[in-house]
């Protein structure tokens, strides 16, 4: 025992002395090992953190641990969309049965039905909004002709509409200068021209006073559609059992508004979607500039992108002017002048130009002034909480289906609020999804058809729908149902009281759990009690589905995440590839260095063998040498790597510069976490590579015969 110890001690001593004796070689090998350990520690920490971030993002937003979908589907499930848009999935015909069968599988906690798809949302424009307000004033005056406040409002609104008409007039004239006078649409343009001339004529408003409702009808049907900024945007939604969804996905939270009441129809718009697509462009640009300045320390003076945004903000001041009626405009002037220290009497356009004349010195002030003074007067989002919106999508049959749903609030996913991948997804009730998608269970088909007829969700042909979408609202009846907030105030329209009641009935109807479950879904998320047993549970769920004759495919969250998951796979691949290349090169270099060391030591080794050292002793001598170097420098490298990780953390992490990164990092920055595992892995790896590269030299040393030492001079 002590003999072993003695031999080990002399082994270590010789190894150490040799290392010191050939310093250059030691340092070269050491540096290679050090850099290797550093790369592994930092790389593994980042990878591990991305893994964790992605797991949090996916499992907590849509994925759960497992996903099931119909195995007969043409495409694969891609929770966040693929290159060609949404997944081509066959619907699961009866979710209730899937739920019943899979709930019995051990470790399954919740099953959340889903239908993910894209749809079109009609967004209102300033004209619509103003006309709505005008209609409200008209109604109030009709109820009480003595209402002085309503009278003043009406006058302000009329002035506002007059201005909007003037602006429209300008736009239309510009457009018509460019248009071919004898072109295909000449007749249509002529009609539009006539309408606008009528609205802009001085006689229009006295006529309006005589028959306000008729005047409103004319403005709404003939003039408002001419407003260019009226349109549709795409919305990505997940139709789901909202109550179960909110419970199952702990990252989901209602950012504004309130949750959809249990069983009700309704939608929670993705907060980030609202920011990107529904927010007033000026406000959005200000937010973006602030974000770049605060998080990335970008400066307007030095960033071309920020300069572009500032210019954009300045040129969009008109959108604000359009929104404000004279009363509001006066209020805005009154608020902005002192805040901006503008001269008395400066008008709103000049004030806005002053406000949006942004540079690095005034940005924070002006940003605050915008939100504190101006924003409360503005409609910041094209859709507000409480609105009822019309969503359209091509159904299964190809025809467009439309549903009206109430916006209960905005939804966001904690930690990944800014991610365009999760944050742009809206959450809608399952019934509305089924209506949109055109799928119903047989026993509910009739009832739903009746309801749809009542509420005015029209099924129109694809051609008509496209004409409505892209033809600038040439088809008046359709535009009426799609004009956003008009539906909310449906009762104001003559003869639509019935419709409104029906819509309200649908809105306030609470569906039972049986009704929610008993229908189609495209896929379902499964959440497990113990997520670490995911493989086992995946097999168990698949087995249970097969046994019950359900044609289900069960995939894990990573697979279900589609391209996002593959991106991480790619990252990991790149890291592994880089490591393989690095260690391949390291192996060759260390091998060469150690071969030289072995050859230089033939005499020493031969002498030891002649004196009575066994082969294993000389092999051990070489290995101890390399292990000592790789351990010492490996630990140093790992410590340095830990330092790098700590520095990255201290600097606030690696900022997520793109939506994808935001999602992968599960937050605004990647805070790498130095795990014991990654440090241990790096040490094991570098030592293993070092030993591997010393094996051939060790073989050389082993083959040295004692006699070889004899023929050499000292």
């Amino acid at each position: 025992m002590s003999a072993r110890l003695d031999a080990t001690r002399v082994l270590l001593r010789i190894a150490f002395r040799n290392l010191v004796a050939s310093r250059v070689r030691t340092v070269i090998i050491g540096l290679i090992v050090l850099v290797g350990a550093l790369i592994v520690v930092v790389g593994a920490s980042l990878m591990e953190s991305i893994d964790r971030g992605m797991r949090t993002s996916i499992q907590g937003s849509l994925g759960g641990q497992l996903q099931v979908y119909q195995s007969t589907s043409e495409g694969q499930l891609e929770l966040y969309g693929g290159l060609r848009g949404e997944s081509l999935l066959d619907p699961i015909p009866d979710f209730a049965r899937v739920k019943k069968v899979l709930s019995k599988v051990p470790n399954v906690k919740t099953i959340v039905p889903m239908g993910i798809d894209q749809a079109l949302v009609a967004t209102g424009n300033a004209f619509d909004v103003t006309l709505e307000r005008l209609r409200a004033d008209v109604r109030r005056l009709q109820a009480n002709p003595r209402d002085g406040e309503a009278r003043r409002g009406l006058e302000a609104r009329q002035a506002h509409v007059r201005r909007l008409i003037a602006l429209l007039d300008q736009d239309l004239r510009q457009a018509q200068v460019l248009a071919d006078p004898d072109g295909r649409d000449a007749a249509l343009r002529k009609a539009q021209r006539a309408d606008l001339d009528r609205a802009a004529a001085p006689e229009f408003w006295p006529a309006f006073e005589r028959d306000r409702l008729a005047g409103l009808e004319f403005l709404e049907n003939k003039i408002a559609p001419l407003a260019l900024d009226s349109g549709f945007t795409f919305i990505r939604y997940v139709g789901t059992d909202v109550e179960a969804f909110m419970k199952a996905f702990d990252l989901a939270e209602v950012a504004e508004g309130k949750p959809i009441p249990p069983g009700r129809r309704g939608i929670l718009l993705g907060k980030q979607y609202a920011e990107e697509w529904l927010k007033l462009k000026n406000a959005r640009r200000l937010d973006q500039i602030k974000d770049k300045r605060d998080r990335f320390h970008a400066r307007i003076a030095s960033s071309e992108e920020l300069q572009r945004w500032v210019k954009d903000t300045r040129s969009r001041a008109r959108e604000i002017l359009i929104q404000l009626d004279p009363l509001q405009a006066a209020e805005a002037e009154r608020r902005l002048r002192p805040a901006l220290k503008a001269p008395q009497g400066e008008e709103l356009p000049a004030l806005l130009a002053r406000l949006f004349d942004l540079d690095d010195a005034n940005f924070d002030d002006h940003y605050r002034i915008f939100y504190e003074q101006l924003a409360p007067l503005l409609r910041l989002y094209q859709i507000s909480v409480g609105d009822t919106i019309t969503i359209k999508a091509p159904g299964k049959t190809g025809a467009f289906n439309a549903v009206n749903v109430k916006v209960y609030g905005f939804i966001q996913f904690k930690g990944i609020e800014k991610s365009g991948i999760a944050g742009t997804t809206s959450v809608m009730d399952l019934q509305s999804f089924r209506d949109l998608y055109g799928y119903v269970t047989r026993d509910k088909a009739e009832e739903l058809a009746k309801l749809r007829a009542q509420m005015g969700a029209t099924t129109v042909s694809r051609e008509e729908a496209e004409a409505a979408l892209f033809g600038g609202g040439a088809s008046a009846p359709l535009v009426e149902t799609t004009r956003t907030a008009a539906i909310d105030d449906a009762s104001l329209l003559a003869g639509v009281g019935e419709k409104r009641k029906a819509a309200q009935a649908l809105e306030t109807r609470a569906y039972t759990q049986e009704e929610i479950d008993g229908g189609v879904a495209l896929n379902a998320a499964i959440l497990l009690d113990d997520p670490s047993r995911i493989r086992e549970s995946q097999a168990a769920v698949q087995a249970a589905a097969d046994a019950a004759g359900l044609k289900l495919k069960v995939v894990d969250w990573e697979t279900a995440s589609g391209m996002v998951g593959q991106f991480v796979l790619l990252l990991r691949g790149i890291l592994v590839f880089a490591l393989v290349v690095f260690f391949g090169v390291a192996l060759v270099i260390i091998n060469n260095a150690m071969v030289m060391a072995a050859l230089q030591r033939v005499k020493e080794v031969g002498t030891m063998r002649a004196i009575g050292a066994q082969r294993r002793f000389v092999v051990a001598m070489l290995l101890v040498e390399i292990v000592a170097v790789s351990l010492v420098f490996g630990v140093a490298g790992a410590a340095l790597g830990g330092g790098v990780v700590a520095i990255i953390r201290a600097a606030g992490g690696i900022p997520a510069t793109t939506d994808l990164l935001f999602f992968l990092f599960s937050g605004p920055a990647l805070l790498p976490h130095l795990g014991v595992a990654s440090v241990a892995a790096s040490l094991i790896l570098v030592v293993a590579v070092a030993i591997a590269s010393a094996l051939y030299p060790a073989l050389i040393a082993m083959r040295v015969t004692p006699v070889e030492a004899m023929s050499m001079e000292d």
Partner: protein, 232 residues
């Protein structure tokens, strides 16, 4: 039983394309306790013979038996053990471990053997360093010593395990006559007290004079074996 038995041993080296017959049919028996000198002109095969006996090389033909064991039948590991435990070898070219100090070089075989405590080893090593006259050089590296001093380290290392057989290739070649005499005296002392068998090659007649017998070797064959009566 004789400690060394060499029968019909030949050893050929390949030098480039020509065969060098370093030994051509040597037969030699050495009894335990002998103090034997191998003499012969340079290139006659002295070192080659000692290497074969010391199990650091293998014969081309013939049998070499050491301590009753046919070396051609031993495994590499057993041969190594034999070298470690039975034989002490003083190489003509010293062969010290450069990265170890003088003390550590001498201690090295003891460490490989194991079994002695640190204190026991220190006593043994110090005693030998003193006996060969380099006590004060224990901490030095071999590269800091003269040729003669290195040779004395090599002697001390060969004797430190108190082997049954000591092979010495020109042990006094680099020493002044006084030191050479001391070394020979030391070896004789061990020979007398412990019965250690010594086989050494030398050109030096004064050294030969201490031997029991002289084996004369010339051009790879044993020319004769003669006792040295005067000193017996």
């Amino acid at each position: 039983m004789s400690i060394i038995s060499v029968r019909d041993v030949s050893k050929d080296y390949l030098l480039g394309k020509t065969q060098v017959h370093a030994l051509r049919g040597v037969t030699l028996t050495v009894e335990r306790g002998e103090f034997l000198s191998v003499a012969g002109p340079s290139g006659s095969g002295k070192t080659t013979l000692l290497n074969l006996i010391g199990c650091v090389d293998t014969p081309t033909t013939g049998v070499v038996e050491v301590a009753g064991r046919d070396t051609s039948r031993l495994t590499e590991r057993a041969l190594t053990d034999l070298r470690l435990h039975q034989i002490g070898f003083i190489f003509q070219s010293f062969n010290l471990v450069q990265v170890l100090s003088v003390f550590q070089n001498v201690e090295f075989p003891l460490l490989l053997q194991g079994g002695l405590t640190r204190a026991e080893r220190a006593v043994r090593v110090q005693g030998l360093l003193e006996a060969v006259g380099i006590r004060e050089y224990g901490r030095h590296r071999p590269s800091e010593l003269s040729g003669g001093q290195r040779q004395r380290v090599a002697v001390a290392r060969a004797l430190v395990t108190r082997p049954a057989l000591v092979l010495a290739d020109e042990p006094t070649a680099n020493l002044d006559s006084q030191t050479g005499q001391n070394i020979i005296d030391l070896m004789r002392e061990m020979n007398r007290k412990d019965g250690t068998t010594f086989v050494f090659s030398t050109h030096d007649p004064k050294v030969m004079a201490h031997a029991n017998a002289i084996v004369r070797i010339a051009d790879g064959v044993v020319a004769g074996r003669e006792p040295v009566g005067a000193m017996a």
